[in-house]
Symmetry: C2
Amino acid sequence: MKQPTICPRFEKAISLLSQRWTALVIYRLLSGPQRFSEIQSAIGISGKVLSERLKDLEQQGIVTRKVIPEMPVVIEYSLTEKGHSLEPILREIENWSQLWIPPLAE
Amino acid sequence: MKQPTICPRFEKAISLLSQRWTALVIYRLLSGPQRFSEIQSAIGISGKVLSERLKDLEQQGIVTRKVIPEMPVVIEYSLTEKGHSLEPILREIENWSQLWIPPLAE
DNA sequence: TTTATATACTTACTTTATGTAACTAAGTAT
DNA sequence: ATACTTAGTTACATAAAGTAAGTATATAAA
């Protein structure tokens, strides 16, 4: 075999980012802490998968969960430093999409 | 609703890149044209899904397929200009992974 | 007291995506 | 004719995601 195998750290990053919804959840949180239902309605993800993703992301140290004991309890999700460090990647994607995805694409 | 909805162009870019294997296929092709079987063994994708992905990517103008009529026929896949324009994104991911993914991670 | 509302989930079930392994097509070579 | 190679495809099995209803906790309304 002559092809160099792909770096496992890179592969891990890819598998994180290419899990469905994950990038969009992080992107949303870039604009500040949000609640479960805010994320849900903003990106159109099901409650089931969103709760799975948020648990994953929390475990990977990308997202923090904070319970605020208000009158209906509020749960606030936000990015950790590691989470924020993904911003340049998402900005590159944003930028690329403006250059290469036609405006009318559904 | 107070949350601004996510830009559809950005969403499209994300859905492209977060399809399983797509980013790895493009990443491989960044180092030059490759054959079906090379891509397959380098990233460990099944033939079935690889052929689906390559068709998709061809249709989206990211990859080109070229038939070279050699003795066993050789089919060479390479990136278009649009495909190459994704390089900065993949480099950011590569860079991020070196900073934030622990070396021993399986 | 029952009924209703709200948030943040979870559960059961269905549909879609992916994996696996065997098979096909076209062209040599033996 | 038989076997070998590359680039796939097909049929079937498993895993991931979607959908809709249900749960837990708390507040307020009838």
